[in-house]
Each structure stands twice: as C-alpha cells, then as structure tokens.
Symmetry: C2
Subunit: 393 residues, 2 copies
C-alpha cells in the first residue's frame, strides 16, 4: 500500500503500560485538505476542543495521537498540554503548530505526562523514515485486541490513488479508556467541500451505524486528510470518477466500523440489524438502533435464543411508527413473525440454529413504507461485564 506523500511513525512514550507503543504521527509532505466528525458529547476532551478549531482551517499537515491518556476533564492545563504536544511536533518538523492536529485516547481525568511526551518526540519524528500505517493502528489500541486497518485503490482521470485508514475500538467504548478514533488518508486530490460532504456521509453510514453499548465517549474523532499527491484533477461532485471515490471511501470506513464491532468488548456475535418497510429512513434507523442497543436483545444473542419477542418489544418502544399487526421478522432467511404473530411450525428450531452462527442478520419489515436502515451490533456477554467491572488498570 503506497499513499503518496504520507509518512507514519509510532514510538513508546511510557504513557500506557510498558512494552506498548502509545504515541503515533501521521505526516503529509504537503498541506492536505481535511474534514472531520467529532463527538457530540458535551463533555469534550481537550484535543477535541482544539481539533475542532484546527480542522476549521481547512488543511492539515499532521496528526499526533497518543493512547493511554484521554486528556479529558483536565481543564486549562489539559488544553495547554494538547497545544504543547502539537507545538513540539511542529518545531521538530518545522511546520506551523496550527497545521498539527493532536488527538488522545485513554483514561479520563489525568493530566498528560508532558515530560515523557516531550522526550519521545525526537524518536517519533526520526521514525517517519521507516514507519507504516499499521504501526499507527497498533499504537492507538487501548482495549482493542487487534489493529484495524483498511484500504482501497482507485483511479481518477487515469491517476491511481489509495484511500486507507485506521481505527480503534468504540461503541463498546469505555469512556475512561475512551474512544472511537479513526484517521483516513488519501493521496487523491479532492475538492474541499466535496470531501467534507462525502466524508460526513461515509461516517454516517459506518461509524454512526455501529453500537456496542450505546455510550458515547468524550474523545470520538474521525478525520480524513487528502493531500492530492496522486496528481489527479480534484474530484468533485461533477467528476466522472466521483462515484468511485465515494464508494471506496464508504468501503474503507465500513470495513473499519465492522472491525470495531467484531472487536467489541466481550463480543461473541456480529449481528446485522436491517429494518425495512418503515415510514421513512429516519424511523427505520431509530427502530434498528433500539434493537441493537437493547441489553435484553443482546443477552439473548449471547444465549443464542431466538427471542423475537424482545426484538418486537424494542421496536415498539423505539419511537418509530409501528403497527404491530404488520410486522414481519426474519433471522437470516428464516421467517419467525408474520403480521405480528409467531409463524409456528419449526421456525423456533430453525431460527435458533441461525443464532448459533457467529454472524447473522435480523431483518424486521414494518410493512408501512419504504424506509430502510442497517446497523451493526454485537452481543452482551459475561466478558463485557467482566472487562468493564474491572478496576481501571
């Protein structure tokens, strides 16, 4: 994978447990057009507050990201630590500090160990010579059990380009080991407004369609940088190749989002929830999310119990328009419910067999209109409780 003009590095700065890299850098040779989605949590980490300002500038040169400390609920000293981290990198690579985006994930409420960050900067910058995107994916892991990287290759006006990204766990987010983070880079040239609109749409169909426990961290960040080094004419809504770029970006973000669900804390099942036949797409999403977030539905998935009653109850309280006499429900291709009633026969045994698979799809047809939505979730296991009940170590 070659993303022209981007270099990567990761080092151990002793912010988290010894023996694990915890500070990473993504650098573009030239200013990259950027767009980002940040947490809507009103309690925002210091680097999110700073990041919102810097992304508004329209271009970035680098992202410096640490794991092990969220730099959240740290007040003015936390904001100064985020600024100082960017300033240290800026000085080392000779760039304006406002072109550097700081990002953090880890424990809430603890000040950043700035002496250790400062000491690690020279090695971080010199590491750019030999680092890879995979190094970054590993350095941002907290409770993740595997690194998350995805990429696609395409072309625009005869110029080959790559869209690549990394992500770390969320959904099953632990606000103290905070965060969904994702950084996407591409060497394609993309018109800024178009980049922003198609990135926000991609985030909405991927990272915003996954849930593990319905908690939202203080640090959630998804960022894209497009540096144009592929040499194509900037892709915009009118370009003949725009749909290919949109599709590839959507695939990268969806791959990363699905990887996050599969790595959900304690997850043993990967479940796709499809709602169709809603009065509109928004209602479909509300209903799908209610099912995906219900602890009762999720424990039933863990128990491999074809418990359609809990799913119907979740749809019923979701807020979506529902006429219970028109609802159908399927586990993969096995119909369980028709007109709101259990279909009988051997459906119980066949539905239960579907739930014994590690991945399956629940389809709910509300029978009211054309609204559709798909979301992704995991089950709720003993291990989810165990991981999250353990003391912050």
């Amino acid at each position: 994978m070659n993303i022209k003009g981007f270099t990567f590095s990761a080092v151990e700065a002793a912010i988290k447990k010894p023996g694990r890299k915890d500070l990473a850098l993504i650098l573009s040779e030239v200013p990259a057009v950027c767009a980002a989605a940040f947490t809507r949590n009103k309690v925002k980490a210091a680097p999110v507050l700073l990041g919102q300002e810097r992304v508004a500038g329209g271009t970035l040169r680098a992202v410096v990201v640490n794991s092990g400390n969220a730099n959240a609920c740290t007040g003015e000293p936390g904001l100064e630590a985020a600024r100082e981290t960017a300033r240290l990198v800026a000085a080392a690579v000779d760039l304006p500090e406002t072109e550097i985006l700081p990002s953090s994930t880890g424990v809430i409420g603890v000040q950043m160990p700035m002496e250790r960050v400062k000491a690690a900067i020279p090695a971080l910058v010199s590491g750019l010579a030999g680092g890879t995107l995979d190094d970054v994916a590993r350095a941002i892991m907290t409770t993740d059990t595997f690194p998350k990287v995805a990429f696609r290759e395409g072309s625009s006006g005869g110029k080959a380009y790559t869209v690549a990204g990394v992500a770390k766990g969320a959904g099953m987010i632990r606000p103290d080991m905070a965060t969904m983070l994702s950084f996407i880079v591409t060497d394609a040239a993309v018109e800024p407004q178009f980049l922003r609109s198609c990135f926000l749409a991609a985030v909405d169909s991927s990272f915003n369609c996954i849930t593990v426990d319905n908690d939202m961290s203080t640090n959630d960040t998804a960022l894209i940088m497009a540096n144009g080094m592929a040499g194509n004419s900037p892709v915009d809504a009118m370009s003949p190749d725009s749909s290919e770029f949109v599709r590839l970006l959507g695939e990268v973000t969806l791959d990363l989002a699905k990887a996050i669900v599969k790595d959900g804390e304690g997850a043993t099942k990967f479940v796709t929830i499809k709602v169709c036949g809603a009065v509109n797409d928004s209602d479909a999403r509300v209903a799908a999310m209610a099912v995906a977030n219900s602890p009762l539905v999720k424990t039933a998935f863990f128990g491999q119990d074809a418990n359609w009653g809990r799913i119907l109850a979740a749809v019923g309280y979701s807020g979506s328009e529902v006429d219970q006499t028109r609802v159908s429900l399927f586990f993969d291709a096995v119909q369980m419910v028709s007109g709101g009633l259990f279909v009988g026969g051997d459906a119980e045994a066949r539905g239960s067999a579907v739930l014994h698979n590690p991945e399956f799809c629940v389809t709910i047809d509300l029978g009211l209109g054309d609204g559709c939505a798909t979301v992704y979730t995991s089950d709720f296991s003993y291990d989810y409780v165990k991981i999250n009940a353990d003391y912050r170590t």
Copy 2:
C-alpha cells in the same frame, strides 16, 4: 391491614411452572373509581388494549391477573382470550364484564391456555373468602425473588383509610417474561379527576424513575382503585387532607418502585442518582436517566469502581445542557469532582469505599440552575447476563 370492601384471591391455574400460584383476583364490593398508566410501547399486549378501554369507563369492580403468559403478540385470538377471562370472572361474581380488568405477565407470543384459566375460576372466586393482598403479590411474580407489598394508613375528615399496593419486577423487565405490574387499592373516597392526577404524578415520581436495563415491556400497567368504603367525603384538591393522601400514595408507589430495583435481575447494588443544578427539572431527569442507564456506569458500580469519568461522559451525551467546567460530583458525601476536574487527594480511596456499600447515592451538580431529579438504578452484574441469556424456561 384492612382495606374495607376489597377481597383478594390467588390460585394455581397451571399457566406457569407447577407448584406456583399464577392467577389472582382483586374484587371491590362496590364500584371503585379508577385510574391507570399503561406502557407507551407501540407493541401492546391484548389485556393492555382492552384495559385502556375499560379504565376509560371511570370505575372498576375487579382485576383478574395471570403470570406465566403475557398474552402479547397474540392477535385477535389474544384479545378474545382477555375478554373471555374477564367474562368468566364476571359470570362467577355476577357483575358486568366491562367492570373487570384483565392483566397478564409472562412469555410473549403464546396463546393463553383458556381451558386451564376457565377450570381455575371457581376456586379463584371461592378463595376470596380467605385470601390476602400478599397472595396476589406472590401470584404475579415471574423472575422476582420476593413479593412486593406496601401500605400506609391515614385519615380524612376523621375517617381512617388505607392505601395498599402490590408490584412485580420491571426495569430489569424481560419482555418475554414481561412486565412491570402494580395494583394499588384504597378504601378512601377520592374525587375521580383528583385521583387520576395524583396517581399519574405518583407513578411519574416512582415507577417512571427506576431503571434496570432501559427496556420497556409490552404489558406495563399501574392501576389504582378507590372504593370509598372508608366513608370519608371524597378527597379532592381542596380537601384539607388532600396533601396527606398525596403523600401516602407517593410513599406506597415509591416503596414498590424501590423494591423492584432492589430485586433487579442480578442486582448487587441499589443506587440513587440525584442531579441538581440543571437548567430545569426535565434536563435534570434526562441527565440522571442517562447515568442510570449507562452499561459502562452500571458495570463500574458492580466493580465498585469510583469511575466518575464514565458518569461525566454519560451526563455529557444525555442531551441535557452541560458546561463541563461547572460540574461537581459526589459519592454520598465524598466530593470527587469540582469544576469538572478531579479533586485529587484521597478522594479516590474515599469514593471507592462508598461504592463498596450495598446502597449509595451519586449526586451530580451541574451548576447551571435549579433543576433537580432523582432516579433509582441497580448495577449490571454477571448474573444479569446469565439470567437474560438463558433460554426461555
């Protein structure tokens, strides 16, 4: 406890496991003024659909309630079964069937075993001679581990009266073993409109302020019947004794609501969440409910982890107005957070000591206004997952 003019009965109709009573009757000698709150779930059980009509009539003589079968998602045959149950009781006690409210809790999607219900009616009616409210409390249990009964005694215009009630588990509701049910009876005479408004207010401050897993069943019902046999002049908003009646009713419903939380599936902690300093009461409640429902907060309670970061994150995403620099947080009397920042010192050790108690209070002061709310919740334990992952037996 003597609630004049009310009699009670419970029998085993073989709807649920052998050896447990599962059909109960509450009968008033005279028509009782009634009011009720039903589930807002759009998927409603048959007896809820019928009950809404019958409560609208303004008076009731009896409630017939079964456990073991929710009579939900059962279509037209389910509605007929609910009507038939009321009709059988009506015939046996010589009353109009529209004065009998049927109610159900149990498995979703299974038709009622009407032959067994019919066969049990004679014993149910003859049992009225010797039954008690406690018998009813036991007969409506499903996954509850103890019966829930509460009562208070008061007087109005020199006439003694009693307010008494029963409830069964919810919050930790299992929509397949559905439901929060509560039946309150009083021999006080109460003006109908006043009864309705003070009952809905009492429900709002009790049953609507508890949560175990944020699921809402298809069968939730809270009903009050006031038969006036105490002989007082009807209590209304102008009565000198109205505030006493309101207080006693509020205490009975709150006692029952707290008992439900304490009996939450797998619960090991009883936690009061108080939010004050919100811009208004509605915001305070939204924030308190977000904390009370967060799986991450609840697993931290189970782990006895003084994890204020997760609580602040939940407040942040609740939708309430929040300025993170003004938030204070306490575990009982131990202040953990001031101005959005950890207070330091020995707060971690002292806060953790509080969380080792079986009951404690989390107070969050948003520092913005006068809005307050209190809700009650439990922790999320291994046993919650175990109970809900087990097959429907």
